[in-house]
């Protein structure tokens, strides 16, 4: 028979992964709910997942590639920016969605118990569909420009793990903060826009002055974007750009797990 002990918890604790596993069906249905709800009663439906990144890419291509003549490492600017926007859109999208996941579901948090981590997790998983669809668009672009990815492509799963860990790590921290401080929601909208310029989305890393390069590479998204560009364009993997960010990504993820667990107990009281 199950035995439940309820006691006030103290200090920092590890997430209860066993319990999380027991609720995997809830995670599945919340993810599905997130996807269905997002495109319900819309004419284009899932088509928006294609249109959004494609239009942003076109605008960037016209403004930065065409008018401002930003250096794109010698590749077509449209491919240059789409390769960056593919992971970037996932990152910024999950940040917005997961940060709001707890506040948006405050009604559930105050009425029933389940591992709270399911909410930001579901937000991040439901965005994966968009990510896969925009990957299909990427494939179309690659075929159009007759680009064959290099051997570096075997490292793609590693970079995707780095992307997921970073997104989830920041998502956990922000969602836990947003329950108590609603400022997160307002601040996030423009901070995500600003962050876009802190990663090599519209410009190339060659534009970064040498003395700032290490600091710049601490941003986990720099490594992800540079790595993805390199592997699809058959260049040597830019490990110098990747390692520092990967390290920070892992720290964010682990800290996020603990921070979320620590804040979890007050969610129902302050939501």
């Amino acid at each position: 028979m199950n035995k439940t002990i309820i006691e006030p918890s103290k200090g920092w604790k590890v997430i209860d992964f066993e319990e999380l596993w027991r609720y995997k069906d809830l995670l599945y249905f919340l993810t599905v709910r997130g996807i269905k709800a997002r495109y319900a009663q819309s004419i284009l439906g899932i088509g928006w997942a294609i249109i959004q990144p494609l239009f942003t890419t076109l605008v960037f291509t016209v403004v930065f590639g065409g008018l401002a003549k930003v250096d794109s490492d010698g590749m077509p600017y449209i491919l240059f920016s789409y390769l960056a926007l593919w992971p970037w859109n996932y990152f910024s999208g999950t940040l917005n969605e997961s940060a709001n996941s707890l506040v948006a579901n405050a009604g559930m948090i105050t009425k029933v118990y389940f591992p709270r981590l399911i909410l930001p997790l579901a937000a991040i998983f439901s965005k994966l569909l968009d990510f896969i669809i925009s990957f299909v668009v990427l494939l179309v672009l690659l075929i159009y420009f007759k680009v064959v990815p290099g051997l570096g492509i075997i490292f793609l799963p590693l970079l995707l793990i780095q992307l997921l860990m970073t997104s989830l790590g920041i998502g956990m921290i922000l969602s836990a903060m947003a329950v108590q401080y609603r400022d997160v929601k307002y601040a996030l909208t423009f901070i995500v826009q600003l962050l876009l310029y802190g990663a090599p989305v519209v410009y190339s890393t060659t534009a970064v002055p040498e003395q700032w390069q290490f600091l710049y590479s601490l941003n986990p998204m720099v490594g992800v974007i540079e790595g993805i560009r390199a592997m699809f364009l058959s260049r040597p993997m830019p490990w110098d750009w990747i390692w520092p960010g990967a390290f920070i990504g892992v720290i964010l993820f682990v800290f996020g797990l603990f921070y979320f667990r620590k804040m979890e107990k007050v969610f129902a009281d302050v939501a």
């Binding site: 028979m1 199950n2 439940t4 006691e7 918890s9 249905f29 009604g107 105050t110 302050v270």
Partner: protein, 422 residues
């Protein structure tokens, strides 16, 4: 002897309620306050979950609550608003943590604090069954297994593949409740959810819950403001008052105690200094505490004192309901009553079959001199009492606003005859 399934020890929970902001006296002060508002806000919001210093912003929702529940027991939890009922359930269902104390529960717990938690308007009824079911702790497999039964119980088969946003609120409640009714935990925690939904469906759910507690030995904790539902479902209850347990006992006793506390009934009038008039009135109710169980004899005792012998006293008792209506013709003394014992005497009124419907009543007493046709004294709202009907069965529930009183009656048919319970 069945074993203890829930053990609660010294449970306490405190909240920090927002402190009132300091008001500015001058325009300059107001400007300065606006300027430093972010800092103040930060301090205030940050302190919501912290309790370094005790001050007036700390509120104890529960304080040192201890009790045990045995397997198969159905425990009712009642109390005024803010007594701590919901906080207790929220701690038991792990939604929020206690500040101190310990709970031990042996068995799978499911809490039903709301009907249809997690329902999304854009999803169909079927999808929402899965959504709601998994939130309540069921697995997909369990729901697959019971899906037909759940849909059948809800009575919305026809619309099961329609998005829930097109449902009426009643249909939504039915669907949510069907899911909940098919939970199979060892311990079920229910809060006030029966208040929604139509009467017939409520009855169906109550029946279903009663079945599972009796036949399957499930332990249930039940919070409700509907005393009739508590009476029907539970045999043992707990009364909470200001975060503490004020009593545990049979549901009958506890409801009686609760009613007395809530309605502030004054079933006695006492004025020993009166030298020429009424000194004492008592409404003797069936429970003795001012709560009268419908159908039982009601007695009223009155003592009066006059300066000397007083002949031909007239008395009238008037009964007034909460809305100010005088519900029955005033009961008037017809015969001659003489206060002969040096003006000291006592009189008793008995109403063998009072038919006041549930609710609170107050009594106004008029006294006069019958011979001289003179008014002596009127005591407005001298005493009060409350009529309770929790112990009486009704298929449709008792409704205060339905009538002023219940008539006794007899149904007769060709070959059947029975007397009403009234």
């Amino acid at each position: 002897m069945s074993k203890t399934i829930i053990k609660v020890e010294n449970l306490s929970k405190r909240y920090r309620i927002g402190l009132q902001e300091k008001k500015a006296d001058t325009f300059a002060q107001q400007l300065w306050n606006n300027f430093k508002a972010p800092v103040e806000n930060f301090k205030r919001i940050k302190s919501l979950g912290k309790f370094q210093e005790e001050n007036e912003s700390v509120h104890w929702a529960l304080r040192d609550v201890s009790f045990e529940v045995k397997q198969g027991e159905v425990l009712g939890i009642i109390g005024k608003n803010g007594a701590g009922k919901s906080t207790l359930l929220k701690i038991l269902s792990k939604i929020t943590e206690p500040t101190s104390g310990r709970i031990e529960m042996n068995g799978r717990v499911a809490a039903l604090l709301e009907v249809g938690t997690g329902f999304h308007p854009e999803l169909t009824g079927r999808e929402n069954i899965y959504m709601n079911g998994t939130i309540l702790g069921m697995t997909k497999k369990e729901i697959d297994h019971k899906l037909d039964e759940i849909i059948d119980f809800s009575g919305v088969e026809k619309y099961i593949d329609t998005p829930v946003k097109f449902y009426s609120s009643g249909m939504r409640v039915r669907l949510g409740f069907s899911v909940a009714a098919h939970l199979e935990p060892e311990i079920l925690i229910i809060d006030e959810v029966l208040a929604v939904g139509d009467a017939e469906f409520q009855k169906k759910c109550l029946g279903k819950m009663k079945d599972v507690s009796q036949n399957e030995g499930r332990t249930i904790l039940f919070v409700s403001h509907d005393m009739n539902a508590v009476y029907k479902l539970t045999s043992k209850s707990m009364l909470l008052d200001q975060g503490k347990i004020s009593a545990i006992g049979t549901t009958e006793d506890i409801i009686r105690k609760y009613r007395t506390e809530v309605t502030q009934i004054q079933n006695q009038y006492f004025n020993p200094d009166q030298s020429n008039g009424v000194t004492f009135i008592e409404v003797i109710t069936s429970t003795g505490t001012g709560i009268h169980e419908f159908g039982k004899p009601l007695k009223i005792n009155l003592k009066a004192k006059f300066t000397s012998d007083f002949k031909n006293v007239a008395l009238a008792f008037q009964f007034i309901d909460e809305f100010g209506h005088s519900v029955i013709n005033p009961l008037v003394t017809q015969d001659k009553i003489n206060w002969v014992n040096n003006g000291i005497g006592e009189i008793k009124l008995i109403i063998p079959y009072p038919r006041f419907i549930l609710g609170k009543y107050s009594m106004t007493v008029h006294m006069g001199d019958k011979a001289g046709k003179q008014h002596i004294q009127t005591l407005e709202n001298a005493c009060s009492f409350e009529v309770a009907m929790d112990h009486l069965h009704s298929d449709y529930g008792w409704n205060r606003s339905a009538a002023f009183y219940l008539e006794s009656h007899i149904w007769e048919t060709e070959n059947l005859k029975y007397e009403s319970v009234y």
